[in-house]
C-alpha cells in the first residue's frame, strides 16, 4: 500500500466527472458487517444478508445527471478555436492505392489540415491480442497508404473551421484505386488459392483445446448428433456515436473521448512517436459501449489533427459512418458433433469454430479463444476437441462485442443439447440437469471450477416464472416454449496478469474522494464503486465524489470490457477501503473506547456498536483525530487477479477466472403463414453471487436480453462483396419498446463469486441465452429448428415450407 503524493486538484478546465447532487435516502437497517473476504465463501443459495448500501436499489451519482440531461458526454465539449474533423474512407473493399490527391481539399477556405498516411509518424499498429500465443502479427495502418482492405477503411483525415467545410473538403480528397481481388467469405478464406487479405496469411490463429479421446468416445457413444450453425454480423448501435474532443495542453496531446479503454494512450504516443507522458486520454461517460469502443475509434484521428494543427479538434462519427466502418461482432460458423449415451450423458464434443475477422485482427484472436473455451457450455464433457480459427476477409473488421465469442457459441451448444434430448426422447431440461457442471469439475481447458455452479437453480427459477402457457392469439397461430442455459466468463483471460487500482481519500470534513481509472459504459461502473466504498466506510453516497478514466489523474484500472470492472475495480476499491479502515479503526476504537471489531461505520458516523444509542463520532472528527496522529487517510490499492498460462500445443491451461451462469426461458407465438415470431413471455435468471445493486443487475439483464433479442430475430449487417447493403440506421433493426414483452428477472444469489463481496459480473452473461432460447421455443411451436441467425420471418417460413415439403 503506497501513499500517493499529495497533488493539487488540477486547475485546467476539466470539470469534475460527477457531482452527486441528489441521492435517494438509503434505508437504515440493522447493520451486519459482511465478512470482507475476496475468496469465495461457502456455497449457499439463500440471498446474502442485507447491507446498508450494497444490495440496495439506489440511484445516485451519474444517474442523477442522466435524468437531468446535464451529463457531459464526449461531444458536449467546446473549446475556443475548435476545429471539426472528418475521416475520409475507402469506397472499395480491396485495392491498391495509386494516388491520393489532397490539393483541392487543402485549398478550400477554412480547411486547417488534410492528413494522409505520410503525415503519421508511425503509421502502423500491431495488435498483440493473444499475448504471443501463436497468432500472426499483422500491422494495421492508421491511415491506409498503399492498400485498402475494407470499405470504410480510413485513408485521410480533415480538420476545418466548421463541420460543413470539413465534410465538403473530405469529398474533395481524390483517391485513385486499382481494385484487387477481394475475399468475402469465411470458408473461401481457407482455400489454398484464396486471395490474401494480408501477405502473412488468412488464418490469424489456430486455437486448439483438447481433452480425453474424442474419437474413441464418439465411436462408443449411443448417439451422435451433428449440427451446423451460422451467425451474422451485428452492430453495437449504441445511441451515442463515436465522438471526442482533443486539445494540446502545454505539450501534452489530450483526448477526451467516448472510450472504454484509456490505456490506448500508449498507442497514440506510439503513433505520434511521442513519449508516453506526452499523451493523455480522458474517458467521458459513454452513451453505451458494448465493446464497440474498446478498440480506438476517434482517438488516433483526433490526436493526429490536434498534434498537427495545435488547435482543439472535435470529431463525431456520423451514424451511417459508424454503421459502415466501425467494428462488428464476429459471424461464427459453428460445426458441432456431440456424442451422448442413452441416458443423456454427454460423452464427447467435437467442435469447429470459424470466425470472420474482417480486414484486420483487432481482438479476433481472443474472441475465438473465448468461443473455443466456452464452446461446451455449462456441462460436463470428458472428451473434447475444439478448433477455433479467425480468418481474414475484406469485410468490415470485427472485434469486441458484449459476449465476446462466448456468446455466439451459446447458440451452438444449446441447440445441440435440445437435439440430443430429441434424439434420445428425453426432456430438454432433464438432459441438461444430468450434465450440469458442479464446483470442482474440470472444464475443457483442464481447469477446475472453484466456485459454486448454480445453473440448475437458474433453470428452476426461469421455468417456474414462465407461468401458465398462453393460448394462441388467433386461430392457426402456434405457441411454443423454450429455454437455454449459458456460462459466460467474467474477468479477463488470466494470461494477462490483470490488475486494477483504486485510490480513496477521506477528506477532513468526512467526505470521500474515489479516483479510479475505470471507464463507465452506463452500467454503473463508477456508481458501484461508490456503493462499495459507502458500505465499507459509512460515508453517505451524497458525500462521495468519484473521478474516473483519466490517464493523468486516476490510478490505472484497465479498460471496461470482459465484464471485469466489478470484479477488478470493485475489489480494488474494496481493498483500498479495507486499507483505510485498517488505518481508521485503531484511532476510532481509541476515541470511542471500544474494541475495533465492534466499530460500526454508517451514516457519516462511526459508532461503538450497532445499537441506536451507541456512542459515536462523525467521520469528520475521526479524520481530524487521524490527521493529528499522522495517520494516512489516502489509500491506493492494487487488486491483482489470479494469473495463469495456456499451452497452445496441448490445448490445456488457464483461461478465465470465473463464470456467471444463467438460464433464459421464452414463450413465442409463430404465425405459420407469414413466419413472424412474437415473444409472449420472457424470463431471465442469472446467479450473480451477490447483487451489489439489484436494480442495476436487473437493468443489465433486461438490456442484455433485449440486445440478444435483436441478435436472435431482427439484426443483421448484410454485406455483399464487402459492401454493406444499407448503412442507414433505419435499415438496422434494433428492438423497440414494442418488440418484446417485459423481461422478468429472477436473480439468484449463491453467495459465491470472485468479485467484491462475493459478486459475479453480469454485463455480458444475459446476451448468450436469448437466441437459443427463442430457437428452442420456435422448435417447440413448429417442429422446425432454426440454425441460422437472425431468425427472420422469411427464414422461419422457409423452414416451415421445408418441413411441409413445399417448394
Amino acid at each position: 500500500m503506497t501513499s500517493p503524493p499529495t497533488e493539487a486538484v488540477p486547475t485546467e478546465a476539466v470539470p469534475t466527472e460527477t457531482q452527486p447532487t441528489e441521492t435517494q435516502p438509503t434505508e437504515t437497517q440493522p447493520t451486519e458487517t459482511q465478512p470482507t473476504k475476496t475468496q469465495p465463501t461457502e456455497p449457499r443459495l439463500a440471498p446474502v444478508a442485507p447491507m446498508r448500501v450494497v444490495g440496495q436499489r439506489v440511484s445516485h451519482h451519474d444517474f442523477v445527471d442522466k435524468v437531468k440531461g446535464s451529463l457531459h458526454y464526449a461531444a458536449d465539449w467546446q473549446l475556443p478555436g475548435m476545429l471539426y474533423g472528418r475521416v475520409v474512407r475507402s469506397l472499395v473493399p480491396s485495392a491498391r492505392i495509386v494516388s491520393i490527391d489532397t490539393a483541392q481539399a487543402q485549398a478550400m477556405r477554412g480547411v486547417a489540415a488534410v492528413l494522409t498516411g505520410a503525415d503519421v509518424p508511425r503509421n502502423s499498429l500491431v495488435e498483440r491480442a493473444s499475448g504471443g500465443l501463436g497468432e500472426l502479427l499483422v500491422p494495421m495502418p492508421i491511415l491506409a497508404a498503399d492498400r485498402v482492405r475494407y470499405v470504410g477503411e480510413p485513408v485521410a483525415v480533415v480538420a476545418a473551421v466548421t463541420q460543413q467545410i470539413a465534410d465538403e473538403a473530405a469529398e474533395l480528397v481524390a483517391v485513385e484505386y486499382e481494385e484487387l481481388p477481394g475475399l468475402f467469405d469465411m470458408e473461401a478464406a481457407l482455400e489454398p488459392d484464396a486471395p490474401r487479405v494480408h501477405d502473412e496469411g488468412n488464418v490469424l490463429v489456430n486455437w486448439h483445446i483438447a481433452r480425453g479421446d474424442v474419437d474413441a468416445a464418439m465411436a462408443a457413444a449411443d448417439v451422435v448428433v451433428e449440427g451446423t450453425y451460422r451467425t451474422q454480423h451485428v452492430e453495437h448501435a449504441y445511441l451515442e456515436p463515436e465522438a471526442g474532443v482533443g486539445w494540446m495542453d502545454h505539450d501534452v496531446v489530450t483526448v477526451r473521448a467516448s472510450t472504454q479503454v484509456i490505456e490506448h494512450a500508449a498507442e497514440i504516443a506510439e503513433i505520434l512517436d511521442l513519449p508516453a507522458n506526452k499523451v493523455r486520454v480522458i474517458a467521458a461517460y459513454m452513451g453505451g459501449g458494448f465493446g464497440g469502443k474498446e478498440d480506438m475509434t476517434v482517438e488516433p484521428f483526433i490526436a493526429l489533427l490536434v498534434w498537427k494543427t495545435g488547435r482543439p479538434v472535435r470529431m463525431i462519427w456520423d451514424r451511417q459512418e459508424s454503421m459502415l466502418a466501425s467494428t462488428k461482432r464476429h459471424p461464427f460458423l459453428m460445426r458441432y458433433r456431440t456424442g451422448a449415451r442413452d441416458d443423456g450423458r454427454i460423452v464427447a464434443q467435437d467442435i469447429d469454430l470459424l470466425g470472420d475477422a474482417g480486414a484486420y485482427p483487432y481482438l479476433s484472436a481472443r474472441i475465438l479463444f473465448a468461443g473455443a473455451a466456452l464452446s461446451c457450455g455449462p456441462y460436463q464433457v470428458p472428451n473434447v476437441r475444439v478448433r477455433a480459427r479467425p480468418v481474414f476477409t475484406n469485410n468490415v473488421p470485427t472485434s469486441a462485442f458484449r459476449g465476446f465469442g462466448a456468446m455466439q457459441v451459446t447458440f451452438g451448444y444449446e441447440s445441440q443439447m435440445d437435439r440430443v434430448a430429441a434424439a434420445l426422447g428425453l426432456d430438454r431440461g432433464e438432459v441438461r440437469r444430468r450434465n450440469f457442471l458442479r464446483k470442482g469439475d474440470l472444464i475443457p481447458t483442464g481447469e477446475t471450477l472453484d466456485t459454486v455452479v448454480a445453473v440448475d437453480e437458474t433453470l428452476r427459477r426461469a421455468l417456474a416464472a414462465l407461468g401458465e402457457p398462453s393460448p394462441p392469439s388467433a386461430p392457426g397461430r402456434l405457441v411454443g416454449r423454450g429455454f437455454a442455459c449459458n456460462m459466460q466468463p467474467y474477468g479477463r483471460t488470466i494470461w494477462f496478469r490483470d490488475r486494477a487500482s483504486a485510490w480513496l481519500t477521506l477528506q477532513a470534513d468526512g467526505t470521500l474522494l474515489i479516483r479510479s481509472g475505470v471507464t463507465d459504459l452506463g452500467a454503473g461502473q463508477a456508481a458501484s464503486l461508490c456503493q462499495i466504498a459507502s458500505e465499507m466506510l459509512g460515508v453517505p453516497l451524497g458525500d462521495i465524489s468519484v473521478y474516473i478514466g483519466d490517464t493523468a489523474l486516476t490510478p490505472p484500472a484497465g479498460g471496461t470490457f470482459a465484464t471485469r470492472q466489478l470484479y477488478m475495480s470493485g475489489n480494488a476499491v474494496l481493498n483500498a477501503a479495507r486499507d483505510l479502515r485498517a488505518n481508521l479503526d485503531p484511532v476510532a476504537a481509541d476515541l470511542l473506547g471500544c474494541p475495533a471489531g465492534e466499530l460500526n461505520y454508517s451514516g457519516g458516523l462511526v459508532r461503538a456498536g450497532d445499537s441506536a444509542d451507541a456512542k459515536g463520532v462523525s467521520l469528520a472528527e475521526l479524520a481530524r483525530a487521524c490527521d493529528a496522529q499522522a495517520v494516512e487517510l489516502s489509500c491506493l490499492s492494487t487488486w491483482r487477479a489470479q494469473a495463469g498460462t495456456f499451452d497452445p500445443a496441448t490445448g490445456q491451461g488457464g483461461s478465465f477466472p470465473d463464470y456467471t451462469y444463467g438460464t433464459h426461458a421464452a414463450e413465442v407465438e409463430v404465425d405459420p403463414e407469414t413466419g413472424e415470431v412474437r415473444v409472449l413471455r420472457y424470463v431471465a435468471s442469472h446467479d450473480v453471487g451477490a447483487a451489489i445493486n439489484p436494480m442495476r443487475v436487473e437493468g443489465q439483464i433486461q438490456g442484455g436480453a433485449m440486445q440478444g433479442l435483436g441478435y436472435a430475430l431482427t439484426e443483421e449487417i448484410v454485406l455483399e462483396d464487402g459492401l454493406t447493403a444499407s448503412s442507414l440506421f433505419s435499415s438496422y433493426f434494433i428492438p423497440t419498446s414494442l418488440d418484446m414483452p417485459d423481461v422478468q428477472v429472477e436473480i439468484v444469489e449463491s453467495g459465491e463469486g470472485k468479485g467484491p463481496l462475493n459478486a459475479r459480473g453480469i454485463g455480458e452473461p444475459p446476451l448468450g441465452p436469448v437466441a437459443p432460447a427463442i430457437a428452442s421455443a420456435i422448435a417447440d411451436a413448429t417442429g422446425c429448428r432454426p440454425t441460422r441467425l437472425p431468425m427472420t420471418a422469411e427464414r422461419i417460413l422457409a423452414l416451415l415450407d421445408e418441413q411441409a415439403g413445399r417448394p
Binding site: Q163, T674, T714, S726, S730, S731, S737, T792, A793
Partner: protein, 294 residues
C-alpha cells in the same frame, strides 16, 4: 454529416409556392413536414440550392365538401388519428397512419408530403389507392385533379411537374355498409412495410353482397399499386366463402412480381401479398357486416 448549403424561402400560399418553384426551377425542393426530405439533406443524398417552406401555405382543417372528405395536403399525420371527421369518413386512413413512423414523424409529416415522396412502401399512399382518392395539384397553369392510381410513376416518382405542388387530397364517400382493413408485415415494430395491404369494401345493404372493393398494395413494386382489378373485381356481386377469398388473394399475389432486396426476397413478398390480402378482405367484409348490423 452536414447538408450541402442551400437558401431558404418561406411562402404563405400555394400561388407563392408555385411561383417560387417556377423561379428556382430544378434546383428547388419543397419543405413540408421534412421527415423524408431532411434525412436526405443530412446525408447529402439530395442537394437542392433552395428550400421552399410551404408549412404556412394552408391552415385549413380536414372537412367535408360535396360528399367528399377534403384533406389539405399539409394535414399532419397525427391529425388523421385524432380528427373525428377523418376517422368518421376514412377510418382506413386513420388505421394506416398508425403504422407510419412514430409520434415525432406523425407530428410533422403531412399527407401531401407522403404522397409526393411516393415511397413504394408508403402506408398512406397504399390507403389512398384503396380509397379511390385523388389529389388536387396546383401548377403554373392552374389546378388539376390526379387520381391516386395515376399519381405514382416509379420509384420515389410522381407525375408532378417540377413547378407543381399537391394542395389537397380528396377521398370519396364510401357509403355504408362499409368495411375496411389495413394489414402490414414489417421487420420491426413501427418500421416501413415489407408488404402492406389496404382494403376498402362496400356492401349491398340487406343482402351482404359486395358492391365495390378496392385493394392497395405496398412493397410489391417500385410504387404502390392497386391489386389486380379482375381478381378483386370478381368479388363484386358475391358473398365470398373463405376458400373463394383465398383464391382471390392468390390471384392478386400471382399478378405481382416483387423484387428482392436486403429486407425481403421477392418470393416472400409474394407470399405475404396472398396472406395479407386474404386477411384484409376478410376483415373488411366482416366490418361491413358489423356496420350493416349496427
Amino acid at each position: 454529416m452536414v447538408a450541402a448549403p442551400f437558401e431558404y424561402a418561406r411562402v404563405g400560399s400555394y400561388d407563392d409556392a408555385v411561383q417560387a418553384l417556377s423561379a428556382y426551377d430544378e434546383d428547388a425542393k419543397l419543405l413540408a413536414g421534412g421527415q423524408s426530405l431532411v434525412p436526405m439533406l443530412n446525408l447529402r443524398l439530395v442537394r437542392p440550392t433552395v428550400l421552399i417552406d410551404i408549412n404556412g401555405a394552408d391552415a385549413r382543417a380536414p372537412h367535408l365538401a360535396d360528399g367528399e372528405l377534403v384533406l389539405p395536403a399539409l394535414t399532419r399525420h397525427v391529425r388523421l388519428t385524432t380528427d373525428p371527421v377523418v376517422s368518421g369518413h376514412a377510418p382506413l386512413l386513420s388505421a394506416a397512419v398508425r403504422y407510419v413512423g412514430n409520434v415525432r414523424v406523425r407530428n410533422r409529416g403531412t399527407i401531401g408530403g407522403s404522397l409526393a415522396h411516393a415511397d413504394p412502401t408508403g402506408e398512406l399512399s397504399c390507403a389512398a389507392l384503396a380509397l379511390g382518392a385523388s389529389v388536387i395539384v396546383y401548377g403554373p397553369e392552374g389546378a388539376r385533379v390526379i387520381p391516386a392510381g395515376e399519381l405514382f410513376t416509379g420509384f420515389l416518382g410522381t407525375q408532378l411537374a417540377p413547378q407543381e405542388v399537391i394542395g389537397e387530397v380528396r377521398v370519396p364517400a364510401w357509403r355504408p355498409p362499409y368495411g375496411w382493413s389495413f394489414q402490414e408485415v414489417a421487420r420491426r415494430a413501427s418500421d416501413f412495410a415489407v408488404v402492406a395491404v389496404a382494403a376498402s369494401v362496400q356492401a349491398d345493404p340487406g343482402r351482404g353482397l359486395i358492391r365495390q372493393a378496392r385493394v392497395g398494395l405496398a412493397g410489391v413494386a417500385d410504387r404502390v399499386v392497386l391489386a389486380d382489378e379482375s381478381a378483386v373485381g370478381s368479388l363484386v356481386g358475391t358473398r365470398p366463402t373463405d376458400a373463394e377469398l383465398a383464391g382471390v388473394a392468390r390471384a392478386v399475389a400471382e399478378a405481382t412480381s416483387p423484387d428482392s432486396d436486403v429486407h425481403a426476397s421477392g418470393a416472400y413478398r409474394k407470399r405475404l401479398v396472398a396472406v395479407l390480402t386474404r386477411r384484409a378482405l376478410a376483415e373488411a367484409i366482416s366490418r361491413a357486416d358489423e356496420a350493416e348490423a349496427a
